[in-house]
Symmetry: C3
Subunit: 474 residues, 3 copies
């Protein structure tokens, strides 16, 4: 039996090890530590807050729905069924929540140094008062500790929302989503938070996406379209965007593999649309049509004001067997090389200087930060640099990001922190991480004589508070 490992949260965590610089970082951090959380892009379900039911158990809360957590164990040789995830094709009976939690505790060492390990520790200590690293021996005790806490009113979603000091929380939604939970939350006098939807139309724009044709028919139907041609399709997209805007949406999100944009006339677009709806579009034209539709989304954003965000470069569902048995979002999504400068040129040619247009570029290929994204943001008024995303949303990667983009684009073309999470409990830990890291980065610049301290203080506050409001029009 291994000895228990104690866990604790240092007041100075994530600050530089050098004492002088650490002191500057701490002082910068203190100016923003208690500012409200603005989360303009994420994947928390609004139903969680609408229903305000207690979380079921630690496995449901931390493991089963978080593919960042499950993929680590899967990579260590643990079958998904042992984590309580049902196999759609039958297979083994999924483990009970307590068994799944125990498996997780046995693999805690695998999270050492990872992004998930960081925020889980934060949550265990700060929210649940735990002071032992999970392991086989304390798994049951930790399960019970968390389970008991979850029964308390103060651990219900709305109570946590308040405790977390969240001012704005954006969800990500299908264009045909009813938005009923959003409406109900907005009308609920007892809930003061601002929970807004985000328009995410990928599956309606790409003729190669499975079920595209059926989705387009549903879109036309839902939008009371009078025809089924290209113009009706465009109108229907505009109608649904308007519906989102009325429910508070501030942005539209696009998760393409490559951010290809294509300049195309209406006649050709209409012809390709028709061919697509007849299932007669070849791959090359389908790619071109999808690239044209990304241009159309930019055009609509220029007109209706929705901020356009692009999250490209992920080869999703890399392992077909996992997809078939356990579905999407099971951690088998792998980044690939991404191009921005050439791919986005048609879009930027047309809308790069359009008044009020905001285009936020994210990447999981960090070579783009210094090479393409910072130079684009340092030139086009519309372009903003998205925060480090997905695999890059972790301390070292965040420091590499700031180092890569700042010297070219400064601090005032970055989006502010984006948690992009479906793990509700991780939100304060993630935003706190970002604030500490930005304080550390600024402290180094001050320590190296590259930035006056007073300017660093201004930048610190702007990064946390001013920029997300400005970039996302909040």
């Amino acid at each position: 039996m291994r000895p228990l490992v104690k866990i604790e949260l240092s007041e100075d965590r994530l600050f530089p090890v050098d004492a002088g610089t650490r002191k500057i970082a701490r002082s910068l951090y203190e100016r923003v530590a208690d500012l409200p959380i603005i989360s303009p892009h994420g994947h928390v379900s609004p139903v969680l807050l609408l229903d305000d039911r207690p979380f079921a158990d630690p496995a449901e809360l931390f493991i089963r729905h978080d593919h960042y957590v499950t993929r680590v164990m899967h990579s260590m040789g643990v079958d998904f069924s042992r984590l309580g995830i049902p196999d759609r094709r039958g297979g083994d009976e999924p483990a009970s929540p307590r068994e799944a939690w125990k498996t997780f505790c046995e693999h805690w060492h695998a999270y050492a140094g990872t992004a998930s390990g960081y925020w889980l520790t934060d949550v265990f200590v700060r929210l649940f008062g735990i002071d032992e690293a999970p392991c086989a021996d304390n798994a049951d005790m930790l399960f019970d500790t968390i389970q008991q806490a979850l029964q308390q009113t103060s651990f219900r979603p709305r109570a946590l929302f308040d405790r977390f000091n969240i001012e704005v929380l954006a969800t990500t939604d299908d264009p045909l989503d009813t938005l009923i939970p959003h409406r109900a939350l907005a009308q609920d006098q007892s809930f003061k938070g601002r929970v807004i939807p985000t328009f995410r139309p990928d599956a309606y724009l790409d003729p190669m996406a499975e079920g595209w044709r059926e989705r387009v028919f549903a879109l036309l139907d839902a939008s009371d379209a009078t025809g089924t041609d290209y113009l009706a399709y465009i109108d229907a997209l505009e109608v649904q965007r308007q519906r989102f805007i009325e429910m508070g949406a501030v942005s539209a999100d696009h998760g393409v593999r490559q951010p290809l944009t294509v300049e195309m006339g209406r006649m050709e677009a209409a012809a390709l649309f028709d061919a697509g709806m007849k299932g007669k579009l070849d791959k090359k034209d389908a790619v071109r049509f999808a690239g044209h539709m990304l241009m159309e989304m930019a055009r609509m954003s220029v007109q209706d004001g929705l901020v356009m965000t692009i999250h490209p470069g992920v080869y999703r569902n890399h392992h077909n067997e996992t997809l078939e048995h356990y579905g999407r979002d099971m951690g088998h999504d792998i980044p690939v090389r991404t191009r921005f400068a050439q791919s986005l040129r048609p879009l930027l040619e047309r809308y790069g200087t359009a008044a009020g247009f905001h285009l936020v570029l994210f990447t999981v290929d960090e070579t783009n930060f210094s090479r393409e994204i910072a130079p684009l943001a340092g030139c086009y008024p519309s372009v903003y640099i998205g925060a480090p995303w997905w695999f890059l949303d972790a301390p070292d990667a965040v420091q590499r990001f700031r180092s890569a983009v700042t010297e070219t684009a400064g601090f005032y073309k970055s989006s502010g922190f984006i948690d992009d999470t479906r793990a509700f409990l991780s939100i304060p830990a993630r935003h706190d991480m970002s604030r500490r890291l930005d304080a550390s980065f600024l402290a180094r610049l001050v320590g190296e004589g590259r930035l006056p301290r007073a300017m660093a203080e201004r930048v610190m506050i702007d990064l946390v508070d001013t920029m997300p409001r400005k970039v996302f029009k909040l």
Copy 2:
């Protein structure tokens, strides 16, 4: 109204924050702090030094001609006309110098952490004695302060050239440039500096470049060619290179998008040249011909001794509207992925070990530093690693560069610092930055027990003094 932010220059700026390492860095830096500046590649106009007129005003000096400075404001939503830049298609009346300066001061926070912010601070403090960060409130006062200084004889270009301790300054010139200013400066007994031209033939080598055919005719004409065929064209290029050499040139510079080189026989080259001159060259063959001409430039460099420098990988004039209204070099140039190992293989196969041949490779795609450029320089005697360039010419990027190339290629295959600037006043600040950063990098190696201090001292001096002389044959 925001409080004024004080600016000052720490004696220890850019040194590591760790006290012990900082002390080593300071001591290394002191050995080279006062060495003369060798600037073997840049874009200052020789006319500036020939005429030796006072700089007109702060906006003319710092803003209007510096696309690094203007692009930052443009990216913040400021129209170029507000910066005093005339719109070639009419448009708004350009702002007065004082208005442009005020706009710049209002956006000073956008330069926090940027390369331009760093050297502008250096110049404001060291040259003009300013101790307040620019802002809306002090804009007029700063304008007047700088304006008054510029009237003094000690702020004339030649006086600054002396004060900056510049030993050699290379300009970048069209192959048909008269070189009259260079000749006049060389003959001027009252001017002791060495100002040398650089042969930059891109527009004469690439059949896809606008006006290529007309330029080739002008080249043939200027070179007293007896024909208009391929051999006459090659002869003419050699004639012009010789003219540059006689005026002191030591290098020829090549700004291709991709450093593609193509092995091709004379017969085929002649045929492609003829087709190009008749406007009958398709894109594929034009690319091949340009790749062949890069080979020809290497061949000529082997023969006439001009150092060959390549600055590839930039998608220039990314935004067509800006190009049409405001012209080239307005900051809308975006790096793209670049390949060296495969693209340069034909050239290196032929000339990689040729006696006396020097090939200096620059990049704005920093992934190439460790992957391709350092391995090439660590193997071919002709290849040298160009200093961090353009977007990478800033403290963090320079440290990433040294870290990426040194372990493979050591210190003795790097070119020495290249400022590549058109901002005359930035030259001492940039070279000082480079010296401080190299001292910091070496100090870390000493501190980590990886390099004896005496060896670090030797390397320090060689990087600043020996290497640029050797690489550029000065």
Copy 3:
């Protein structure tokens, strides 16, 4: 004459400069400093240990056979003949060992900051008690010092093997290698070390490799095949793998330029094989067949348990003239961009979750660490992250590696250190370097409050001892 530079080995070399973090690093390092060396992949010849002859002289030992060392001097303009390397096409008489050594000493400054410079210093000081940096003046003296030491019994290969505390040493071998030295060593009661072969079949798998057809015939012959068709070929490969396994092999290594894998039916594979054996395979099909054979190697690894390692992405023999005069492995091998996520998808689709399958991915294109390799290893149970390799096997690169992969894949999907060296004397210096760097990385995480110290101690030991045993099934 330059003053002599003293060299020494700091007890704290490679630890962070910050005093507090250094102390943690030192304490972590002490826990593993004396653990035995496990070297599961390298290029030392087993004959060295079988014969146990004294090393001939310093040039033979450090220069002539080490292309990392010779390429640096070649890049400084030194002809290979001056390093004692014979020109296969005649040319200059190769220099004597003493002359070659002197040339090396004269160029010692060129190794400052390089990977080779680091371990050579370690060996000079620790093994030979040298305390002066090599230079022209002490070259003869150093030659004699080393030469005298080499005559001692304690400097024979087997004595060093013991002194180095090597537990396992893997060699790299042709599939038709007799393995006689391995057998003899295993049967030699006086030698206690474990020296195991590695199956390296590249030249038998790629129809474009020179001599492929002849090699396949030899393979069929050596394997007592009854036919010459595709099935006989597959059988023969399995027979030879089995022979290696019986001699202790634990892995098969694959040095492809791109890790392309292709799903292909047996019928098509057989047809392409036949065409290849008739010399009638076009390049496209040859690439596909080689991609299919990489799949076959994975299939065999799943069946026979050999760990599959892939070392891709190197453009070998970049300079044809050097190849013709001096042969392969002369330092003219240049990394190129490499793709993993897409290239390996067919292989991972089929074998990514196969029980007991281990696939270790190496790269010389470090952009892959965070973008593709860590996400693959953080998802597929079979995939492990190979240690920094070749140009990246040096202090700063190793730190970039840990920073790039850990936040996504943790510490428990990395392979443990791989020295991959043919320089026998460098083995302890390299493993010591790796241990110090991992201690430094972990110490920083502890210092930044990201990892409890007790967990860092566990990880430290696992990285050095547990992981290589597990990943390579030792």
